[in-house]
Symmetry: C2
Subunit: 187 residues, 2 copies
DNA sequence: ACCCCATCTTGTCAATGGAAAGATAGGGTG
DNA sequence: CACCCTATCTTTCCATTGACAAGATGGGGT
């Protein structure tokens, strides 16, 4: 499929994949549409047709990310701790998607596509968070759920930022399970 | 001091302040050195003298951020919950600093200045986290401290990303205290 | 009075994002 | 089977940007 024809075949998908790789490598700041086009073997204006502009490309990436996160949370089953670990695993495995998703300034957050995907992910997340935690003071269910989300999100963000790499060394997923267990499983 | 002399007087500070404002407004992506220079009333090459390049400017901003965070944590006193709230307050009040600090890809993380400032902030943070929490299963002190940090960091990140704005409305600090209390104060 | 050096300016270049207008081809319709 | 139609991609062009080089300015110390 590395044909040199006029039509690429699946430029949209190729660009999304290349974008994720580039962002995971150099960060969103160094992203260059022209460089993506070069690597895909198309002209520098080809991406514009599929995504409009740079923000449009990142919008599509964010939408894809929300869809994948929704799937990952659904697949995690009903256990809250497993869902939290799945959240962290998603952030690490799909670092570029995760980082873009939570920087709405990078894309068009009101785009219908990304909004729909986000709502689906929110529902999956809400379902996971609704599973009764051990037995904390759940007189404040909203705060409990926000805390669980914040804990998983914060661990993922700190890990991705490299802030934890000084002390920790091993498997992030095992560490995540230990850390999330501090809140998710009360004795 | 709005003199029109050859020398600005305090270009470095003016640029840092303008940078923080610009990032808080439009995000790091839309940051333009030439625009900053225009607003400061200097030539487009003036910033280069003080910061080298764009990454250098953000390095200085990150260093300033770490210094301010260290001060904020120190000023919070010995209470863990208060420290957590101070962490969140810092993130919200100095959004641009916070966002840059935890995106090492934006600056020169190995710069001596920022490294020193980060170490000082790490010490302040470590001190705050060392205060015994209520009475959780602290057989795993490392996990407990990481959980506390992750919780505060995650709440701040989610708030800044706008992910919480759909459900919540009121004062972020009060909400933060409620959420952080889920882990920090065990009954 | 003089020089030194931090600070700032002017001029230049390659790269980028984006817009406009045209080329190409593959598929459906008559 | 010829034709058109539309999605896809290219070419051309422009303003903006980051970075660099070389020069101008002037304050402070000797």
């Amino acid at each position: 499929m590395t044909e040199r024809s006029y039509h690429h075949g699946d430029l949209r998908r190729a660009l999304l994949t290349a974008t994720a790789a580039a962002i995971a490598d150099k960060g969103p700041m160094a992203l260059s549409l022209r460089d993506l086009a070069r690597r895909a073997g198309v002209s520098h204006a080809a991406p514009a047709h599929h995504f409009g502009d740079k923000a449009g490309l990142l919008t599509a990436l964010a939408a894809e990310g929300y869809a994948m996160l929704a799937d990952a949370l659904s697949a995690a089953g009903g256990d809250l701790l497993d869902s939290g670990v799945a959240y962290v695993r998603f952030a690490i495995e799909h670092r570029a998607h995760f980082e873009v998703m939570f920087q709405p300034g990078l894309y068009h957050p009101d785009d219908p596509g990304v909004a729909a995907a986000r709502e689906r992910a929110d529902r999956s997340l809400s379902t996971a968070l609704s599973t009764r935690p051990g037995h904390p003071r759940d007189e404040d269910a909203e705060a409990t759920q926000l805390a669980a989300w914040s804990l998983a999100h914060g661990f993922a963000a700190l890990w991705l930022s490299g802030a934890l790499s000084t002390t920790t060394e091993g498997d992030p997923e095992a560490l995540a399970r230990r850390v999330l267990g501090q809140l998710f499983q009360q004795p």
